[in-house]
Amino acid sequence: MTHDAVIIGAGHNGLVTACYLARAGLKVCVVEKNDWIGGAAVSRELYPGFTYSNCSYVASLFRPEIMRDLELPKHGLQILPYEGGAVFKEDGGYLGMFRDHDANRREFARHSKRDAEAYDRYSRDVLRFCRFIRPMLLRTPPDPSTFRPRDLSELMWLGRKMGEMSERQIAETVRFWTMSISDYLDEYFESPVIKGYLAVSAIIGTALGPMSPGSAYVLLHHYMGDVDGNVGAWGYARGGMGSITRALTQSLLAAGGEVRAGTGVEQILVSGGRATGVVLSNGDVIKGRRVISNMDVKRTFLKHVPEAELPGDFVKRVKAFKIRGSSGKLNIALDSAPVFPALPEGAPNIRGDLHFTDSVEKMERAYDDWKAGQFSRDPFQDCMIPTMIDPTMTPPGKHFMSCFVQYAPPKIEGRDWTDADRDAFGQTCLDQIARYSPGFKDRVLHVEVRTPRELEAEVGLTEGNIFQGELTFDQLLFNRPVPGYAQYRSPIRDLWMCGSSTHPGGGVMGAPGRNAAAEVLREMKHPSGMSEAYAVI
């Protein structure tokens, strides 16, 4: 039998696309190489009784329109806002973050009275950029090189959006998109630790340092989501990040879709210039009227499509697409709650993101190691203990800790990572935590260490890049992933893309998946059944 759509990869975007198409009445089959589903929004039990968030670890970007359309709450999805966060300083002090506005101001004032009062203006300015970009997330980028009516009207829409801003705001916006987060923060703040905390969102998942131009936009990418309307806030998916893809799978099955896990795609079948299905690694063939790849653009076109079927220029652009891995991950099962003596008894900060990098300079030095082809000797870590809030992931009193680590290069000085490299990397991270949390290592029951090698091999992310391609300005909007192919289509008819390599990029957002489904349905002249993107008023 022939499916209406075969979707490669049961990550969140593949499942979002599948759900929308299935609800529109299409016969869809999602093919997943791993025995489990989830891609990078995945929860596995690697230690008995402990649910991990093995890759992505917090939620904010996932579009609420998608949760609503696909009835994900009915299928078990719950997003829990979290409070807190802290940067532990080398001198034994710390900077805490608080949801309460006045508590946060007083905390900042411990480090700089001026910065404490400058923070509101900074937040306002960044929020303005968020308000500008949010309406673009659920729209297909226009192709500026065509004269198709839809592209022209989308370009005009973009122009109108710019036109709504004052000249000064346009200048600010363009500056922000192109400058480094370090320079941007210097315009507001003087305290090294405050800047060190705020710079974090600009480097996560990116092979840029905080002093690299373009890093400020990456910060925006992390601020433009929301938790129930609280823009910029982040939360935990109750039951781990895998509960997002679990809810999507349930929604898909309820709509009559199908998931085949355990055998990956070997080759996308192309015949007469059209995609007609996939061959699995076990030789099975799944026929489809269209094939939609949730894999990144490099993996899709350089590994699973015969090069002869593709225009040379396209292949060249795909090869040049920047997808450099920059991060690793430690997932730790803990026998008891870690203690950070710097924090006062009862401080809520431990329920949020914990960092050990107390200045932008240290972050940049960690990036210097990456440039030299080494993992950072003094890495930046974004550590979270979701079980401080989520009672479902571990037995009572036990904890799961997720440590996102930068920087880790895709190759060590040009050669592949070895197990010894991986273990040394893991040890470096554990040592860093233990410096601020005595006895930490004694609480450890199990550690999963993932370098770019594991991320590529297990999750399928080329070079271990968590965004399926860097979020630099040259790779955004109608240039993502390749100019002329930003509308979820490819040079091969009926071969589509729906992953984070496409607009609007990475993170557990679901927007690429929804936009791709919208394009497929539009081409079929089929009603989409999608709710309008929520208005920004």
Partner: protein
């Protein structure tokens, strides 16, 4: 050198601070009706807002002013700095004087309003609603001044009402010669308190400034002296009614500070808020001057107006219409005024509607769970709505 505060690490346990008067205001607050104001617990009502309001207009009322944000500006070029920062002429303010003022961003939109106190040639204090240390320090580039945030270093009460001068006299502070917007210092228990003839009620009244450790003894002394005039603490609800009658505006209620506005069309200029009378165009450059000059040339987009509304129902939160159909601005503050016996309101309207021709207000009055919808014609009137002669009389009338 980075200036830091000595806040204790466990400050998060009490995100709302208590003012130095808390040991007195807390037992007086029979309703335990508190609200947050600038990071402090502040009494919204102690027991009965009507009685508290009546104390403002009949006797002597005391409002805890401590949460007001305060900055000290010191240095040889303090006056020049403040002239550059604010729209009014701070150099013309004589030592011992106070004036109401406003500062703007480069686009000529209001960042905040506040009162400026000149304690010495080279020493001013700014009192305002919002926090601006970054802006104030950036603006100080090139001036020989220091700017310091001193909110927690000063405790303050507002004593307002027709008996306020009499009460101060009974307390041993003779303010009979003190003119409006002037300050005087008085010894108190080995220290000193500063009395300014200022306030936010549009009535006779004084603001009393002291060191935090003087707060409780001073409170006790004042309340003992004021007992014959039924001195009573008042909450924000009563004060808000009095300030509407006085026609005063409040930051973040009647306008949004330019540096907080997310939407670019929300900030307002001094011209749009009816504050053009305080701009000194001749004093030299000040921040926002170029934009304000341009606005004066081409006209403003908005206007703040005072309104009288027929009937006795408050128009709070209502939308205005031109010819009952086209939206034409909105009410920012409204109340039934006990002192003028009218329904009064402050409103922002597109400038072309400032005259109020064919202007209507649509009121949704909640009565027993149901809204009664009213469409009423409004009349533009001068502010203040309530303007008693006793506010200005020097010496003030003795009661």
């Amino acid at each position: 050198m980075i200036a830091t505060s000595k806040t204790p690490l466990d400050h998060f346990r009490t995100p709302l601070l208590q003012t130095p008067f808390h040991a007195r205001t807390a037992p007086a607050n029979r309703l335990n009706h508190w609200g947050p104001w600038a990071g402090y617990m502040t009494a919204l009502c102690y027991g009965d807002s009507d009685m508290e309001y009546t104390a403002i207009r009949n006797g002597a009322s005391v409002y805890d002013l401590c949460p007001m944000v305060k900055y000290a500006v010191r240095g040889r070029e303090a006056a020049a700095y403040l002239n550059r920062l604010t729209i009014r002429n701070a150099a013309k303010l004589s030592v011992g004087g106070v004036h109401y003022t406003v500062w703007c961003d480069d686009a000529g939109k209001i960042l905040d309003d506040g009162t400026l106190f000149r304690h010495a040639e080279d020493h001013y204090v700014i009192c305002c609603q919002e926090r601006h240390l970054g802006w104030l320090l950036d603006s100080a580039e090139g001036f020989e001044v220091t700017v310091e945030e001193i909110t927690e270093d000063i405790a303050a009460l507002s004593l307002q009402g027709p008996c306020s001068a009499t009460v101060l006299g009974a307390a041993g502070f003779d303010v009979s010669a003190l003119k409006p917007f002037r300050m005087a210092r008085f010894p108190f228990e080995g220290g000193e308190i500063t009395v300014s003839r200022t306030g936010f009620t549009g009535d006779l009244g004084y603001e009393l400034w002291m060191a935090p450790d003087q707060a409780l003894p001073f409170w006790d002394h004042l309340f003992a002296a004021g007992a014959p005039w039924n001195i009573r603490p008042i909450g924000t609800d009563a004060l808000n009614l009095a300030r509407i009658e006085a026609g005063f505006i409040i930051t973040n209620m009647d306008f949004i500070p330019a540096d907080q506005a997310l939407r670019e069309d929300r900030p307002r200029s001094p011209l749009e808020m009816g504050l053009d009378w305080m701009i000194d165009w001749e004093k030299g450059h000040f921040t926002g001057r170029r934009a304000l000059l341009a606005e004066r040339e081409k006209g403003s987009d908005w206007a703040l107006i005072g309104l009288e509304v027929p009937g006795n129902i408050s128009a709070e939160g209502s939308i205005l219409y031109y010819g009952k159909k086209v939206e034409a601005g909105f009410i920012t503050a409204a109340a039934w005024s006990p002192s003028v016996k009218k329904s009064i309101a402050l409103a922002q309207v597109p400038a072309r509607h400032r005259g109020g021709h064919d202007l209507w207000v649509e009121i949704y009055a909640l009565r027993e769970l149901q809204y009664v919808k009213l469409m009423l014609p409004v009349t533009v009137v001068e502010r203040p709505f309530f303007n008693p002669a006793r506010k200005r009389a020097t010496p003030p009338g003795r009661v």
